[in-house]
């Protein structure tokens, strides 16, 4: 199991613990990560310039393709953007030609074989729940976890092919593998509010708060995420609160269950 690690922009800048914990857990589970000179997935220009966005994604995919590796990303927005780019390229011949020319001027070729996976998909499908359960030495028994799916992994399912978009089970299954209990909460598939945060902060805040309230009402001790934007949004929305609902990145939860030292997971040790 070997992947090109696509860490994106936000994780190194604002949530380095996500990268640290992902690398620590995957290394223990025998997944090898390769670093390539990746740049932005194109998220920043997605809603402004289609060609520029697809080019930004395609350039990264072309780098992985050239190295003969599939891409693994812990970020759900990068995941969605990269997968969408592959879809757009396969659907639109004109776009494909334009991006192909631009890649050529950078000494690259259109990506052909490369696949894009999210961290959770790799854990579930490639590493496997059994192998994960076997690696768990300090099960989080009794911990009630609300698993937050994140929009851009789940939808549109035709593009992301992550799990059943209406009744997914992948994340909860992984949570249970750590020995914790996955709580059922109606808003688990809702948006965290982050994409709206710059344009309409009050509205974004209500989206975030509705999710936090729902998780709390359904008995969650902690909210588990697997996307930097969601994680940061939940944390920022509760800044200053005396009784915040704790949020944890899934590889941190898994790492703790695997007996890794909190310091290696970017947690206060």
């Amino acid at each position: 199991m070997k992947y090109a690690m696509f860490v994106g922009c936000t994780i190194p800048a604002r949530l380095p613990a996500y990268e640290t914990s992902t690398r620590a857990v995957l290394a223990r589970l025998g997944v090898e990560l390769v670093d390539l000179p990746f740049a932005c997935c194109g998220n920043t220009v997605r809603g402004l310039d289609q060609d520029a966005y697809v080019f930004a994604s395609a350039r990264n995919l072309a780098l992985a393709d050239r190295a003969g590796l599939d891409v693994l990303t812990p970020c759900k927005c990068c995941f969605g953007n990269l997968r969408h780019a592959l879809r757009f390229l396969s659907q639109d011949a004109g776009l494909r030609a334009r991006i192909g020319r631009a890649l050529e001027s950078e000494g690259l070729a259109l990506p052909e074989k490369v696949q894009v996976h999210h961290l959770l998909s790799v854990l579930f499908h490639e590493v496997g729940v059994q192998a994960i359960a076997a690696a768990v030495t300090a099960p989080r028994t009794g911990l009630k976890v609300a698993a937050h799916y994140g929009c851009h992994a789940l939808r549109p399912s035709k593009v992301t092919q992550f799990d059943n978009p209406l009744a997914p089970t992948l994340f909860e299954t992984l949570v249970r593998a750590t020995g914790a209990t996955a709580v059922d909460w109606p808003r688990r598939l809702d948006c965290c509010g982050d994409p709206l945060h710059d344009a309409n902060p009050p509205l974004a805040g209500r989206l975030t708060q509705a999710k936090l309230d729902d998780a709390r009402q359904n008995g969650a001790d902690v909210l588990a995420t697997a996307c930097p934007y969601c994680q940061l949004r939940f944390a920022d929305a509760q800044a200053g609160r005396t009784d915040p609902l704790p949020t944890i990145l899934f590889p941190q939860l898994l790492g703790l269950a695997m007996g890794l030292h909190p310091g290696r997971l970017g947690l206060p040790g």
């Binding site: 994106g8 922009c9 936000t10 190194p12 800048a13 604002r14 740049a39 932005c40 194109g42 998220n43 920043t44 220009v45 997605r46 809603g47 402004l48 310039d49 289609q50 060609d51 520029a52 080019f55 930004a56 350039r59 639109d92 004109g94 776009l95 631009a102 950078e106 929009c151 851009h152 789940l154 939808r155 549109p156 399912s157 978009p165 209406l166 809702d190 948006c191 509010g193 994409p195 709206l196 710059d198 344009a199 309409n200 009050p202 509205l203 974004a204 209500r206 989206l207 509705a210």
Partner: protein, 564 residues
């Protein structure tokens, strides 16, 4: 040039340099970047700077400052980590240039007083001058080569003063070596020294013996030098040389750069003597040095002052955050401390997007200059500038990955500058597109954003194709699952249309009415609508495409004033 006029020239250069320095240093307290910095008056920044400069030695900041001085200023570990070749080149220039300045340019003040019997034509000084000069030249070549390599990835911004410094430094180095080479081989220089040393007290026989020795051993290009001089004559000349000249003249081969140059010049030395080339080369060499000194504050050489200060301020800030006034000054300082090495541009996450969109304003080195120009030009003059649309595009397309800040060899707080720049632009009427759209209603935008010619399937394949939205039966499923619609509290939230209404506008051929709508721009892109649409319509993809169409059209709007 007489000694007194030379001295006057030096004083003038020094005076200009001092005035320039004062002006440049004061900019660190004057230039205001970011709305928060505008609220801080000059005197508070002066007070904070003075307090910082004098109190750090007695505070918790001291260890951080000392560490920064050793590792960052002297050893330049940040540059080493990023670009080894340029680190080596920079170190060679720094050492070579400083050594030449102290040993050679300031010989009368330093070397002569410290070392008894100093003569520029004597070893080790003759040899060392060539060593230091060669170091500086090799350093310049390495740095330029490193820059060239970076330029292939992204075009670095530059200012006039950058090139002026490199040009002056090159002139100083080349003229210095040429001058030395000319003097080594010059018969006129030989004659002048003979006149000065012997006056009338040398016989014609002795003179021709001495010339024979200097032609062979020192490579002076006498016109009448025999190719194979009489051994006895040579012997006499060498004896004479030992008594008269050797105490001040080491063999010219020690000048391992200038001597080979003088061999290449060969017989051209004599015609050059006729036009007094040594004198002109000396003028050029000294004039370039003095000009460099006079304009130092306005050239890249200013970084010899601004970079250490910047690195030391970082060291001070590592133990305790700076005050608001300190942060404001640090932003202004960053503009001066940037040497436009371009390493940030090569690491920039959105550099591929900058190349694709052909907008260099996305690149950090360009953003730094535009931030500065903005601060200098003020806000009033920007309203009509198409240029500022490009600059704003660069500012708001930054993905905030922080690589530029992390990798900057002089440790500039670029992320803080970019935030300040975005705030400045927003305040001046150039906010992010999503914010700008909020200044008018959807129907106002419909009037302002007519379709540009040529807009068709290539740029808007979904919204220009009826098959995308004609299956819509207006069942409202999209609207019912939309979290933005669900969480809208009222008109104050601005959400005007619903997803199903947007689809309906497309069906009615009224796409212009959707472009500036809040529904399109406040869409959370959660894809609930698209996932749930019973007709399989790509509702969210259409929303994003509408934004893209609107963004293209927004670029044609010049008048950024809010409606009355």
């Amino acid at each position: 040039m007489s000694a007194s006029s030379f001295r006057i020239a030096v004083y003038i250069a020094l005076g200009l340099c001092a005035l320039g320095l004062l002006w440049r240093l004061s900019a660190w307290l004057r230039v205001r970047i970011g709305p928060d910095a505008r609220a801080i008056p000059f005197h508070r920044r002066l007070a904070s700077a003075l307090h910082g400069a004098f109190s750090f030695a007695f505070s918790r900041r001291l260890p951080g400052v000392l560490k920064a001085f050793l590792l960052d200023v002297l050893l330049q570990r940040r540059l080493f980590a990023e670009a080894k070749v340029r680190w080596l080149g920079h170190l060679l220039i720094l050492l070579g240039f400083t050594a030449l300045l102290l040993m050679h340019a300031l010989a009368a003040l330093l070397t002569q007083k410290l070392f008894k019997g100093y003569q520029p034509t004597l070893d080790p000084y003759l040899f060392l001058r060539n060593v230091f000069g060669a170091m500086a030249v090799a350093g310049i070549v390495l740095v330029i080569a490193g820059r060239r390599r970076a330029q292939r990835v992204a075009p670095t911004a530059h200012r006039l003063g950058d090139r002026v410094f490199v040009a002056l430094l090159s002139i100083v180095m080349v003229s210095g070596f040429l001058l030395e080479a000319q003097k080594i081989a010059s018969p006129a220089a030989f004659q002048r020294m003979v006149d000065e040393y012997f006056g009338e007290d040398i016989s014609p026989e002795d003179l021709s013996a001495l010339k024979a020795a200097w032609a062979v051993d020192y490579g002076v290009a006498f016109e009448d030098a025999a190719a194979d001089p009489d051994p006895a004559l040579l012997e006499t000349g060498r004896e004479l040389h030992k008594d008269a000249c050797a105490s001040c003249h080491s063999l010219p081969t020690s000048a391992f750069v200038s001597y080979p140059v003088s061999r290449v010049m060969g017989p051209a030395v004599r015609p050059l003597d006729d036009v007094d080339a040594a004198k002109w080369l000396w003028y050029l060499h000294v004039f370039a040095c003095l000009l460099g000194l006079a304009v130092l504050p306005f050239t890249r050489l200013f970084h010899a002052i601004s970079d250490p200060v910047s690195l030391l301020v970082n060291g001070a800030a590592s133990s305790r955050p700076l005050s608001d006034a300190g942060r404001a000054s640090r932003r202004a300082l960053a503009i001066d401390a940037c040497v436009r090495c371009g390493l940030c541009d090569t690491r920039c996450s959105v550099a591929p997007i900058a190349r694709f969109m052909n907008n260099a304003s996305l690149l950090p080195s360009h953003k730094l200059l535009s931030t500065f120009r903005f601060a200098r030009e003020g806000r009033g003059r920007l309203r009509d500038g198409a240029r500022y649309d490009r600059i704003a595009e660069g500012a708001f397309l930054c993905s905030s990955c922080g690589r530029c800040t992390e990798r900057c060899p002089v440790g500039l707080g670029l992320d803080d500058l970019w935030t300040a720049q975005r705030d400045d632009l927003a305040a001046a009427g150039h906010p992010a597109a999503a914010k700008w759209v909020q200044s008018r209603t959807a129907s106002e935008w419909a009037d302002l954003l007519p379709a540009p010619p040529g807009e068709g399937p290539a740029v808007a394949p979904l919204s220009s194709d009826r098959r995308t939205f004609s299956p819509c039966v207006q069942c409202q499923t999209c609207t019912n699952v939309c979290p933005v619609v669900a969480h809208t509290a009222g008109a104050g939230d601005g959400v005007d249309l619903t997803p199903q209404k947007v689809m309906n506008l497309l069906r009615l051929g009224m796409v212009d009415l959707a472009l500036g709508s809040r529904m399109v721009w406040d869409c959370a892109t959660c894809y609930q609508c698209q996932e749930h649409c019973p007709e399989g319509i790509r509702v969210t993809d259409v929303m994003l495409e509408l934004r893209q169409s609107a963004y293209r059209r927004l670029a044609t709007v010049r008048d950024r004033r809010r409606p009355e």
